[in-house]
Each structure stands twice: as C-alpha cells, then as structure tokens.
C-alpha cells in the first residue's frame, strides 16, 4: 500500500490542566525598578480577583513538550499536499515569516506618528498597487480581516453606491453553486437572497439571469472560475445584463489562483471583488486563521471605501480620514498588516512573469489530475476545468461508499482529504485543487492513492467505510459532540 507519510501515533499527551501542578512556573519577569503597589488600594478591594481558578501551572520544559507533542498530531502543507478545492493550500514561503517579524514592522503601533510609520504605509501602498494591477481594478482597500469580511465590505460598497442613487434595492442573486459565505454575507448586509440556477453545463444560465435581474436587484455574486473549476464563459454578457439594469457584478476571488496573469476580473466586467491573501497569495492558514480579505473596486465605488485611505502629501504618506462617502470602518486600525507583509513578500518573490507561471502550473496540475482520474470517478460536468476539478461519488455510491468515506480512506494513504460534498450542485462531490506548489511525484502519488481507493471500493467496501485506520484518532462522534456539547475542560 502506498503510504508516504507516517501516521502520527508516536506521542501521547494530556491537557495542560491535567499536567498542571501548583508552584510550577515557566515565567520570570525582571525585578521592578519602581515601587510595588497594593492592588486593593489602587483598584478597590472589590475589583481584585482572588486567583484565576483552574489556570495551568507548568514548567517551560513541560510547555514545550506539550505543544510539540500536540503538533505531531496535525497534518500540514509542510508534510504533503492538501487537495482541498477552492482553498488553494499552496506552500507558505518561510521568508515571509522572517520579514513579518522584523522589529520595526512587528512592533509598530498603529497610532505611532505618521512620520514614524512611513515604512508600514509604503508597504500597504505597494501592495494595493500590485493587487490593483493583478485584478485590473482601480482601487484597493486592505482593511478587511478575512475573505468573508471582504465580501461583506464589497456588498456594503454596492449598497452605498445604490443608496446615493436613491434606492439600495432589496435582493442579491447568488448561483446555486456558491460558497456558504455568499448568502450569509448578503443577509448580514440587509439583502434577501435569490438563487440563480446553473445550466446543465454547470455555468451561469444567462436566460435565467436575465429573467431574474430586475430594478430590485442590487448585484449578482459570482465566483470565477466557478466552484466547479470552470470559467464562466458568459461573464461579460452577464455583466452587461446587470449593468443595463443598474445592478453590479461582485466577484468572490476565492479562485483567483486560476487567473493571475491570465485574465483580470476588471477586464471582464467585475465592479467589485475580494481576494483571499491566505489562498492565492500564500499567507499561512495557521490552523484556521489569520487571513486577510482585500477588496478591489472600479472607480465608481472608490469614494465609498472604508476610511482611512492613504494619500501622498508633500512627499510623504498620510492618512485621509476626511472621506464623507465612506461606508465607515469595518475593523479597527488599518488591516491585518502582518498578513499584508507576507503577501507582498510573495508577490516580490514571484514578480510579474513568476505569478503567471504559477497560474500555468496550477492549472496544469489540476488538468493532469482530471485526465488521470476521469476513468475511475464520475465527472458530472465535462467542460474544461482550470485550477480545480470536481468529481462525484456516483460510481462508488453503487457500492454504498460516499465521498466522505473515500476522503477518510485517502488519509490512510498519507494525504489530507479533498473538499467533500461541495459544491451542492454536484451530488456527492469530490472537489480537488492541487495548487502549483505540488511536484509531479506528489501528484502521481495522490492519483495512485485515489485509483487504489476506487479499486478497494470494489473489493473491500466495508474497509473503506471504516477508514481511517492508521491515524491516532479514528472517526470521531460528531453527533455526541453536538448533542451534549462539552466546550471546556472542568476539574473532576
């Protein structure tokens, strides 16, 4: 059996609180160079807490062992490929970690005088310009903390522009293939959501769209390529239909990894879009965050961007807070600066030609996977795919095996699963995105693993159903976790 990653069974470790013992310590502070102060006197006796009950007390050695042991239970990009569709789990360059920690950047306070923040401001201006060039848009805000927040910002910008025209409108159209954040975002922005069906080929149905776009529709939220990895070939016509009725086209930039250097959303009719720096631009996922979700807009939306904006005044960078039409702030300060530094480092490392080459490799890897697996898994939508490919579990379902089971078995082969059961327009979807930072060897091993699993479904389906077999933890009881939630440790 192909197994390229050892399973993580080598370490056992309890919780910090179970390792804790009164009096153990991992800290030491310098002696005070000022007099100590009586807490009750300074704060008021009623305000002083007795102790932090249950808080751990461990030594430095136990602390480092605790976290090191726990870390060995994780899969990571540093170990191998994550074929997760629409997640773009590419290599996280280590130089990015180094530059983000340079003292003058890492210790910069957002309120330090502008004269002493020119370096940070220059970094942000440079990144804004690079992202504007990549997306073909006119202006960029770096304020949103994540893709979902960028999305919300984008919809609020649309609302603000329409409100200026007298009517914010009521509805937002979303394709049935969309990611869950899209309708959630629209609802939080105060719009009602209307689903637009895809064609049998899995792309936007222009006729359905034309019927749905009335003067009450504010925008269509689209992902391009869509969640099937297929380019929306009718996107320019869709934009025209929307613009003719005074509506706008929002693009979810989650799949930008298929477009950088090849096509620019600003050139095919997009009015506003967000980017995920933790996807296309390599900033690390860190187990679930932080990310950053810059928003790029066409000129018409620029006045509404979150405040402040950066401007050049007498040869220096300065903040412009005097933005009367701005939608306001979507978060305190200027953005996830530490993430922005990493994204800029990635862009500098690749450069213009390099970014395009990365896109070509990303698409080549996905098309290659499609070619090698289409004899073994059902491919519901035959249109050419770009950086990701979506299969369905239909063939395997005949033996009672679903996409979730196949995914769990993939773990035994040393890979993280692909994206399971999404998009919803494919029954039992397997959504696979390798990214450009995977070698031919890694991809061939992945393909071999998938083919082997397809064979196992025929010969030993029960074994596949019980997978994974080689991990430290077998399948967890999610039903119990939801029925009887235990969300913190408590002493016995």
């Amino acid at each position: 059996m192909i197994q390229k990653v050892r399973s993580h069974q080598s370490q056992n470790e309890a919780l910090l609180f179970e390792r804790s013992s009164p009096g153990k310590r991992a800290w030491q502070l310098p002696e005070l160079d000022v007099p100590a102060v009586d807490a009750a006197g300074a704060l008021g006796a009623a305000n002083v807490r007795a102790e932090i009950e249950g808080f751990p007390e461990v030594s430095e050695v136990e602390a480092i062992r605790h976290f090191t042991r726990l870390s060995t239970w994780n899969y990571a990009i540093d170990y191998g490929m994550y074929p997760l569709g629409s997640c773009t789990m590419k290599y996280n360059p280590r130089i990015n970690e180094l530059v983000a920690r340079i003292e003058g950047l890492a210790w910069a306070h957002p309120y330090q005088p502008e004269a002493l923040a020119q370096g940070a401001m220059e970094v942000m201006v440079r990144l804004e310009a690079a992202l504007a060039e990549i997306t073909g848009m006119d202006a960029v805000t770096l304020q949103p903390a994540a893709g979902a927040q960028g999305e919300l910002t984008g919809i609020l910008l649309i609302r603000a522009l329409l409100e200026k025209g007298g009517n914010p409108r009521q509805r937002i159209l979303i394709p049935d293939s969309a990611h869950g954040t899209n309708p959630a975002t629209a609802a939080i922005a105060g719009y009602t959501v209307e689903n637009v069906k895809s064609t049998a080929a899995g792309v936007l149905d222009l006729e359905a769209l034309a019927r749905a776009v009335t003067k009450d529709v504010a925008a269509l939220m689209v992902t391009n390529p869509n969640t099937l990895g297929v380019f929306e070939e009718n996107i320019t016509q869709a934009a025209e239909i929307l613009h003719a009725k005074g509506a706008m086209l929002y693009m979810d930039g989650a799949n930008m990894n298929a477009l950088v250097g090849i096509a620019r959303p600003g050139d095919f009719g997009v009015d506003v879009m967000h980017l995920n720096l933790h996807k296309t631009f390599s900033t690390p996922h860190g187990g679930g965050g932080p990310g950053a979700g810059p928003v790029a807009v066409k000129k018409a939306l620029e006045p509404f961007l979150p405040v402040p904006r950066l401007k050049r005044v007498r040869g220096k960078w300065a903040y412009d807070f005097n933005r009367k039409r701005s939608i306001g702030r979507v978060r305190a300060f200027y953005g996830n600066f530490g993430v922005l530094v990493r994204a800029l480092a990635y862009i500098l490392a690749h450069g213009g030609p390099g970014l395009r080459n990365a896109t070509v490799d990303a698409v080549l890897n996905a098309v290659y996977i499609r070619k090698r697996l289409e004899a073994h898994f059902d491919l519901p939508y035959p249109a050419p795919n770009m950086h990701e490919v979506v299969f369905s579990d239909e063939r395997q379902a005949k033996s009672g095996i679903r996409t979730g089971d196949l995914a769990k078995r993939l773990i035994d082969y040393g890979f993280h699963p692909y994206t399971v059961s999404f998009p919803l327009i494919v029954h039992g979807a397997l959504m696979i995105e390798p990214t450009e930072t995977e070698s031919k060897l890694e991809i061939d091993q992945f393909v071999a693993a998938m083919i082997s699993i397809a064979n196992e479904v025929e010969t030993d389906p029960e074994m596949v159903k019980q997978a994974p077999h080689s991990t430290r933890t077998s399948r967890v009881d999610e039903v119990l976790a939801a029925r009887k939630p235990v969300l913190r440790w408590k002493p016995a």
Binding site: N92, V99, D477
Partner: protein
Amino acid sequence: MRYLPKSDSERRAMLDACGVASPEDLFAHLPEAVRLHRPLDLPPGISEYEIVDYFRRRAAENADGYASFLGAGVYRHYRPVLVDTVVSRGEFLTSYTPYQAEISQGTLTTIFEFQTMICQLTGMDVANASMYDGSTAVPEAAMMAARITGRHRALAARTVHPEYREVLRTYAKNQGMPVEEFGYARESGAVDLEDLERKIDDQTAAVIVQSPNFFGIIEDVKAAAEIAHRRGALLVMVFTEAVSLGILEPPAADIVAGELQSFAISPSYGGPYAGIIATRDPFVRQMPGRLVGQTVDTHGNRAFCLTLSTREQHIRREKATSNICTNQALIALMATVFMTVYGKEGLRELALQNLAKAHYLAENLKPAFSGKFFNEFVVRAGAPETVNKALLKRKIIGGLPLGRFYPELADAMLVCATEMSRRADMDELSQVLQSRAAAEVLA
C-alpha cells in the same frame, strides 16, 4: 522559481499525458475578449536576500529604538520566546482548518485549551475559538444580544474604544440596529450611570461597556448590569487590555467581547489580532464563530472536533449567525502559549507589574480623572502634539492625543505604562510634561 517544484521535462510529460501541446493551450477555451494580452506590469521576481533588504529598509523608516507610551487598544508586552518557537512549527503554521478531526487533533486540542482558559479568565461558561479582533467582536456580541432578546437597539458607552464604536456603527446600520451612546462622568472618567438610565428602554438589546475603559478607568460593570437587567437588556463587557484580567475580578456580564493582542501578539501596525466572545451556557447556540467540543472516537478515546457547526455560514447560509469563516487560530495559539508560560501566578504578577509602573508614572503626572485605573490614564498636557514633538527629540513616543476622538479632551493625552516601560523613560516623560506645564503657567 524556487516554489514551483516541477522541471521542464516533468511539465512536458504532464502536458503529454493531458494531450495538450503547449501550456498556453490550457487556456485556449477562455474567450479571447477576457484574456490579458500583455504581461503583468510588475517587476521580475527577486531573491530572498533582496526581499529581506526591502523590508528591512521599510522597517528602518518606521520608529526604531524609541520608548513608547502608547496604549489605546494596542499594548507593548514581552513576548515569551516559546510563543514563536511553537507557532513556527510547520504542523501549526501550515495546517488547515481542523475539519478533518482525525488529522487535526493538535489544533483542536489547543483550541479546546484556549476556550477553557478564556472561560477561566473571564468567568464565563463558554468561549469561542476566537473572532477576527476585539473591534469586530463588539458588533457580533451586539447582534447576538439582539437575537437572544428579540430586541433591536444597542447602547454603547462613549468610553468604549472609539474605533470599536465606529465598527459597531458600520455593522449595526445594516442590521437595522440603532446605536445610541451614553456619556461619562467628567470627574471620574467612568460611565455616567444616570445617562444610561435615561437612555435605556424596552427595546434595548445590549448595553455595551468597556473595562478598563478607553481612558484606562475601571468601570462599575455590576451597576451597569443591574440597570440593563432591570430593563431586560443584556450587558456586554468589552476589554482591550487582556493583562488586566490577571488582577481584576471578572465582571458580571452576559456576553464578554475582548481583544487578546496583549497576550504575545505583536502590535504589527494594527493586525492580525484575535478577539473572543464568551458567554453563559444558555446563550451558546447564539454565539458566532468556531467552537471545539470534546467527544470520543470509535474506540472510546477522548478526541476533539468542531461542533455546533449548524450556527455557521457553510451550513446555515443566509440564516447563519454570522458570515465569519475564519478563526484566528494561529494568533489564538500565540495567546495560548503566552497563558501557559505565565500561568496562574505569572499572569497575576505581570498585571501587578503593569499596575506598579503606571501608578509610578501617575504620581508625577497627575491623572485627569479620579477613577481607579489599571495601566493607562489620561493626563492634561496643554498642546499634546507639541509635547509629543519635544518627546520625539528624546526618542520617546508620548501618549495618544485625545482630541481626534474626544474634542472636549483636546488638551489631554492617554498614556500607558507596562512591564516593559523603564523608569528612566518614565522620568523623562514626566519631566518634559511637567516643564511644559510650568512653561504654560508662566506664559
């Protein structure tokens, strides 16, 4: 390019397997009209050494080697060396959201520990796996209160961080949630409880109070909570200086929304940080954000997994409690390591050192408000910007001039002293402020 692990011959072999003649053919199906027909207008890629050089030069254009007395929501605290050691491990840094529990127990376990420690610190029953930051945790808490009470108004104290209130307004506007503010007492710098009484009504979902507040003053959260509860509203307590919880009694709040930047998260010019929302058991299903729960695997071994996911966007879609997709996992891990290193005694000692430093500084500077404070306070400084210019000449960044947020305090600045503040720098700050004050009296 060093991040692209394919040789030309391998590319050729893959193209052949796809039946594709050249890489450009991979894009042949795209409509001509959408194609970019020129190279991106970006300079060619550079080496690691040049990248470091670029950012070092930017860093040098920032403040370098200055003492700083800025707080105002972002605090200078020592970062234990273990923090970066742990988060630099590839298994934590480069791992994905822990949807596949079997191969994510490292992340899931640390988040469970994080959730526990936040509960212990805040005195709440349950905490989520972090929000983007403190500023966005506030509107999330307000919307949560609206869902729980079925009401739609929010009342925020003016002593809540001004930028947090701006964010609240941006979010609330689109949720049909009017936000009103209540003032502070001129003498103490704490909230004006009478103003709160006057403004609260039967449509108020949340009363939002920060403690220590933006001026550094410790609020009587219990009194504010009593007023809120009498009218059927919930009390949302906000904190921006997490170290204060090392010594301050956790408040009797219904929802706590806070910022953890003080726990070994680099100031990093404003982000990334990590916020939290913590609450009492009955409200858990209305809480936004990821949650990790304890369960068992098929062999009965303890294991952890993401749970109560039906609150979240990827399932509930337009009915979700929030559209948030991320938690700040790596940042929360920094805070977890910090809390582990300091532990029960260390966090208390750290808080006491902050108290001592700030109160030493306050002896010479005379705080403008009479209320009790933790490690920040307001001081009158005539023309704060001019004072700060004088301080900069001595390589000291002074406090935050308050005029930009509170026009009535245009002659004041907010100064913060932490365990990192040195006596010599504090003495110099006092000297400059006192001499300027004397100069103004004489003028």
